[in-house]
Assembly symmetry: D2
Homo-oligomer: 343 residues x 4
């Protein structure tokens, strides 16, 4: 099932995401020119059929005009790469930032590149390590004509209509959302939607994790708690006598339940591999989008307590609230003479 | 694909859920005896092949011993129905409460019924109006032997293994979770897990709704805000100039994205039907399980800020925080002479 | 300034709170009979003028009828003490529970004692280690006549009108609230109000602690953060270059600011003693009232996200969210191949 | 008790805050030159002893060099006023922004003014309508020498040491925090601390308001709730039978309790005037600092769920979560056929 409209795409950044995008594109009949600081990554993909290059100028020369260049880089190095790249490109070329840039940077960059008649497209890309097989959900921002020109690329990368049942009430037949990619609006709109997507992801993850943790601790009544002035005893220990297998719960929620979701699928998988999750310590990173989502909610005046709380849970998991907690203990000590308990 | 082990089941309560359970069971070859206060509901299902009855005693007489009776009733009338029913049942019979009872009531009821050697099984049932076709996710509590005896019933009602991809890391082949039903533990365990399921549902729904609302208001910079001492102006109106179609966003998130879920599917459907959701005023009910989940988290000492916040969002949507808000305005008036703004 | 109406009171429980209540009462001219399991505690107060006793029956015998007995005990031992005590008391006697009982227990106990015509008064007591000098804020529940009879006791224990400016708009001259004690309603009402008082205390403490922590970390731009795909760099390090002395901030907030409060006073004191709070690890206990406040909010359907969040912050400070956090890390690993960072 | 070091100060902006600052300064022996767009405001203060002016240039001319000019203006008009003013000032003059500017603007402005050797001081001012009598808490940022030169002004405006008990553990005798004003650091540090102060204020207010609302609704068991599938009945109506006077509760909390605070004082006052707060609808404004506090917490990576939640409560009180809530109702309708309830 090769694409009807094969195109050439240049990919800069051959980490897991970039490399798999190239593979998915080539499988579908597109031609890819690839570059990475790491020559081994280039060789690997050249061995799989891509055109390898050994410098940015080599890379640019091997692309036909108008060029289509996809950047799949950590947000922190996009600007420096763009700076070098832009000097090599020509009017009419297009650069797609497929990483996790802050949407405000997109607006700035697009404006700057447009002075040289180079087009900038921001493309939020969701799908993680599974995207090669499942396809990637794409949220795109930029000029309409440019996005249209690149449509065969987006269509190939996206999961495609068949991977989910049609939405029953959906009547519109134009558009691409049902194929798993969407032109959301002008520059920045793609990363804006992707940013919020990740905010939603934080909130959904937290809801699932909190729930399974409540189920895990349904045995609270079996444990003797110390009874002292600092600890309130459990009033109804008889009501917390369950030892429930949370991995099996995640598995059963995968089918037919209201919370059925890819995140529950993944949770079931993780628990099937390691029921106690011993490989993890519980220090949960956050990589920017959650923070930016909260900033946007505050700017817009939209209440977002659930998403925000899920962000702060992650901060707390990394002990970033330590001084806050010390202050609380200090106040308790001041007014009540309460000493901290050791456990 | 009829069941290998046809059974007889009595169903009390022929609302949407109860009636569809009966239909799904009969399709698979089970025989159903049905009762409801509403004779029309009984006639309807009798016309579809069920055995209709016109009183509880008629209902009980038409069931073979050991009887299997499924209650699909509002939580508030389960106890009164049980009271009448128990006098008619015999030792060895089993009652399944498939509604949304509080798990603590299950513990009490099971203990009470066991004095007459009648078995009580609690079964949390998720699937809503779609369960007839999709199957229902079942979370079951009660005695092991009794739950085993009823297995063919649960197997038919549940969605079945085929409706989702296998969990890659799952190695165990015993058990039923992969078929969409699970014996979670002794009495109450089923409704406990279902209760938390709904708590998770609240949190996931809130995350999705908050996120889409942030996207909806990405046009905040287009609107002139009054500038006065009471209102802070938006510092970066240029960053909020997007008019994004949230229905299309929900549609694109359905495929390949990390937030892909049945709730996003349903959201896409609702927005396809009515992009502004004009049929709704935004008064969001809560029906008990969310509250109980919070009580359990507090009792267990497990932090659940996301789920809890989503519950309180619902309370606020119904103006239950009105006095709180008046107090806040009153304080502002006291210390700052701030008058309330009208909009 | 001795009381006009000296009374006799029996005190059971001579911990810090109980002993100081006795001292405050004796200073004002009341006579106290005291009992504690710990004979040293009894001797100590006997040396200060109280009538010591060496058993509950000795204690009861030394009290004039109708007796007034104050219990100042950990919540967990109130019921067992009451059981012994009640057999020794007579119709007309009154028992005051001045500890931190759950208000629902008050309702049960009052009803039970009333069958013997013994009166039960619940009295929430706030003031901590400072109450001997400052007086204690008292929130009282029980029968009106009994509370009235005990008024001289409450009046002495309470801080008295002079300790705060009059409330300007207050016109009522009856009542006792302006003296620092209040009959809130029938049995349980006192502990109900005290319970919520502590919930408010949790929320206020958290607000202060979070704020000072934000000020403490106003130097975030001075610190180099690792830049990688897991960590978002601080966009505006120039805006976080402050090294602010949080102890001085707490001190300045004590005078004239909107957040002026006893809790800020205490925070300033703690920081004056130890600017980095090195004596504390940040494991913050919760002793029951905060939990019960959340349960009440949920039962009543009143949104209380701030108080609840402050409770969950305490849970998290004691690592009770560990499994939740592990689940989050596990999900991130599943969909994104993200490894946990060590710091 | 006039100041030892009388100074001259120019005040621009004679709203309530500006006018009262002038009055407080003049009472203490300082001389004030005043300007406002509103000539009546100028006349009023001229009548009380200030030197009135009718234009910015008139205002500047009447000030001795090096001038000290205090701006007490809405944040939104500070920049335009500064622009005109700066052209009239001379090297060595100082401008104090006493309003609620965003601290980042302070950094920019200070840098810009310094190119003309004009000094900029940011001064967060708390105290509201009560400051004339109580004094204002001042949080100051800027160059050390300039702040020192202005010390007599700050000392007069601040509440002074006597208005609160000394902090027992405080040993340092230098500094000014104990007088109610503090030089917090370089430009912006004053408004940074004031910004967080207001964030703390939001959180404390919310804690108090939520708590009193829970007490207000302690009668929840007296009300009949509809019992249907959408509403969970109150399990223990007997536990919610209290009609508690929340105004009296606020009054009693003013003395000796842990939550004693100016905000509780004000709440007691508001409730004494209007027990049901009928003058308010509950639309709670937020004026910028709360939002900026949240942005700072997110940037710094400091968990601040309580302060943030209190901000979002305010958003919700103004129905800014309406689309979120409609989405929730729409989802419930989709999966469960749940119709919205009218009340």
């Amino acid at each position: 099932m090769a694409t009807d409209s094969p195109m050439q795409l240049g990919m800069i950044g051959l980490g897991r995401m970039g490399a798999n995008l190239v593979r998915r594109l080539m499988r579908d009949g597109h031609r890819c020119v690839v570059y990475d600081m790491n020559a081994d990554a280039v060789s690997q993909l050249a061995g799989e059929g891509a055109t390898g290059t050994d410098s940015l100028s080599d890379f640019v020369q091997k692309l036909q005009t108008p060029r289509a260049v996809w950047l799949m880089l950590p947000a922190a190095v996009v600007d420096s790469t763009l700076e070098q790249l832009v000097d090599l490109l020509e009017a009419g070329d297009a650069v797609i930032d497929g990483g996790n840039s802050y949407y405000r940077d997109d607006i700035t960059r697009a404006k700057s590149l447009l002075t040289k008649n180079i087009h900038y497209v921001d493309c939020g890309t969701s799908g993680g390590v599974w995207g090669l097989e499942r396809g990637y959900s794409l949220m795109i921002g930029g000029e309409k004509e440019v996005v249209s020109r690149l449509d065969p690329i987006f269509k190939t990368i996206a999961p495609g209509e068949g991977c989910a049942e049609p939405t029953p009430s959906r009547t519109r037949t134009d558009g691409t959302a049902q194929d798993g990619y969407l032109h959301c609006g002008p520059s920045g709109a793609g990363h804006f939607v992707k940013m919020v997507h990740n905010g939603v992801e934080y909130g959904m993850m937290a809801a699932i994790a909190e729930g399974l943790s409540i189920i895990k601790h349904a045995d609270a009544g079996k444990v003797d708690r110390t009874v002292d002035a600092e600890t309130t005893p459990l009033r109804d220990p008889w009501a917390y006598q369950y030892s429930i297998d949370v991995g099996e719960v995640a598995e059963v929620w995968r089918r037919g339940s209201v919370v059925g979701s890819w995140l529950v699928d993944l949770t079931a998988d993780a628990l099937a591999r390691s029921p106690e999750l011993d490989d993890f310590t519980g220090r949960v990173s956050d990589s920017g989008e959650g923070r930016w989502t909260v900033l946007a909610a505050v700017d817009e005046g939209v209440p977002a307590p659930v998403i925000t709380t899920s962000l702060f849970e992650r901060f707390s998991s990394r002990d970033l609230g330590e001084f806050t907690d010390k202050l609380l203990s200090a106040m308790r000590s001041e007014f009540g003479g309460h000493a901290e308990k050791k456990n």
